[in-house]
């Protein structure tokens, strides 16, 4: 199995001197769904922003490398970075940050249009992505008038339209009501892409991701089957992770 994502020995400190990553090593195979768990301030967002080259050694101080399906992230190579940004689709936590165009269809078309697609080809991409998240009926609506769950789904579509190698989701289940949460899970499960999901929602991680990694204090502290990690109370407590009241991974389907 070829790796979708290879992060090796990634160190990073912000310009203000705050050290966030202390040597992260992570490999995600093609088609895998992996949950990235960890307490607040563990460096999850910093790691995510490294995956498509928004943060890099030059934007603070750091070392190490990130490979996406064989292509190394190199901020000095403009064409390479454009390709990396196509391959790594990041869905940010607040869909209002992600959806900035006046209509749903225009927003979904933003990424592919930046890749140089026009006309019928562009429309096809938009239709395909909207169909994948079941939002075709809302293509001409204003994002502001959609429900939160619908906006989150459109945010996923905006990234899918670029046909990414790996989908990176930042807290995909936050602020969703249970029904939207389940609908999003069904959509994510149906997508034929590699998924890296940053989340505090442990049952959601268990439901969607066979494998989980725990990031704490800028290092990968644990890597294994999600169910095994969640069943290890010592490990969980050690990294400020807690299951919701009454939830026992042993009984989850």
């Amino acid at each position: 199995m070829t790796a979708s994502l290879t992060v090796s020995d990634l160190h990073f400190a912000y310009p203000d001197g705050r050290e966030v990553l202390h040597g992260v090593d992570l490999t995600v195979g093609a088609g895998e769904r992996v949950a990235l768990l960890g307490p607040n301030g563990a460096g999850k967002t910093t790691l995510v922003l490294h995956l498509n080259g928004i943060l890099h050694a030059g934007s603070g101080s750091g070392s190490g490398s990130v490979d996406v399906a064989g292509l190394t992230v190199d901020p000095s190579d403009r064409a390479g970075i454009a390709e990396i940004r196509r391959r790594v689709g990041i869905v940010f936590q607040d869909p209002d940050d992600q959806l900035f165009m006046p209509t749903v269809a225009e927003d979904v078309g933003f990424g592919p249009a930046n890749l140089g697609l026009r006309g019928a080809e562009l429309r096809e991409r938009v239709d395909e992505a909207l169909a994948a998240v079941d939002m075709t009926a809302h293509r001409d609506q204003v994002p502001h008038h959609l429900s939160f769950g619908q906006r989150r789904r459109v945010a996923v579509a905006t990234v899918l339209a670029m046909r990414p190698e790996i989908l990176v989701l930042d807290e995909p289940s936050s602020n969703l009501d249970p029904a939207s949460r389940r609908e999003l899970a069904e959509i994510l499960r149906s997508l034929p892409v590699t998924v890296l999901m940053v989340t505090h929602d442990l049952p959601y991680a268990l439901e969607l991701c066979p494998r989980s990694v725990i990031l704490d204090e800028g290092r990968i502290a644990a890597d294994g089957k999600t169910v095994d990690l969640l069943r290890d109370p010592e490990l969980m407590r050690g990294h400020r992770l807690e299951l919701p009241f009454g939830f026992d991974p042993a009984f989850a389907r």
Binding site: A82, D96, Q98, P102, T103, N114, D140, V142, T158
Partner: protein, 253 residues
């Protein structure tokens, strides 16, 4: 682009005027307004002619006159200013109902009232028959600098979110026993504006990150679609051309 939810100035139905491309309507409104403004103020017949032309547009666009009249009240502050002119004006004076009025001031008041009303009505008709989104697209097709259309595009998307933020902050203040009276309200307003600025600034950064992640490189993709045809231009030219003929006839007569 049926935006679904209508703007207060937009009348969401179908008519011959609604179907015209935005750019031809913008140009027609602009030219019409210019003709109105350069018409000498003593040519009263010409202004009656212009009003008739607008009534024609109103009928074609199926805009209810009362609906339009309500929105035209935005002009009232200017009309109030115009009322002061006959009293304050200099030069030759005339007696009317025991009041001494300046002839020059009366002409000045009429000038503001007639030209202002015609301009406001024309703009309202444009707004009633064109969605904000289409207006921006029209400006873009008219080669308006992209900086302006980009700013307008983001305004269109984020103004509602900004209002929501402001409303939530106000509700939160009221919920904590805050009782706005005149002077105190000014202070809370100022603090609120500051907080909104910080929020918007931070959101701007997050939006930019999301845009860069999807390959943004300084240009918004120009949505393609059929531009205006020669027939559209010809049809919309009826209004300014008719106005021009009225102006010429009035001046030469």
């Amino acid at each position: 682009m049926g935006a679904g939810h209508a703007h207060p100035l937009h009348l969401d139905h179908d008519s011959r005027i609604h179907r015209l491309p935005a750019e031809v309507k913008i140009v027609a409104t602009l030219l019409f307004t210019i003709v109105v403004v350069i018409t000498p103020r003593e040519k009263f017949v010409a202004f009656a002619g212009y009003l008739l032309l607008l009534v024609g547009v109103l009928v074609l666009a199926k805009v209810p006159p009362l609906w339009l009249a309500k929105r035209a009240t935005i002009e009232l502050p200017f009309v109030l200013l115009a009322i002061a002119l006959p009293f304050a004006g200099h030069g030759e004076r005339t007696e009317w109902l025991g009041m001494s009025l300046s002839i020059d001031g009366l002409h000045g008041a009429w000038n503001i009232f007639a030209k202002g009303t015609l301009g406001v009505l024309a703009s309202l008709l444009l707004a009633a028959t064109t969605t904000t989104r289409d207006l921006i697209l029209g400006l873009d097709r008219l080669r308006c600098p992209q900086v302006f259309t980009q700013i307008a595009t983001f305004m269109l998307r984020y103004l509602d979110i900004l209002f929501d933020d402001a409303r939530r902050m106000r509700v939160a203040r009221l919920s904590r026993g805050y009782d706005p009276r005149f002077l105190w309200q000014v202070k809370a307003f100022a603090v609120g504006v500051g907080a909104l600025f910080i929020r918007s600034y931070e959101r701007g950064e997050r939006v930019y990150l999301a845009m860069v992640s999807r390959g943004y490189s300084g240009r918004l993709p120009r949505p393609d679609g059929p531009g205006a045809t020669t027939a559209d231009w010809a049809r919309s030219a009826t209004l300014p051309v008719a106005a021009g003929i009225i102006a010429l006839a009035a001046v030469l007569a």
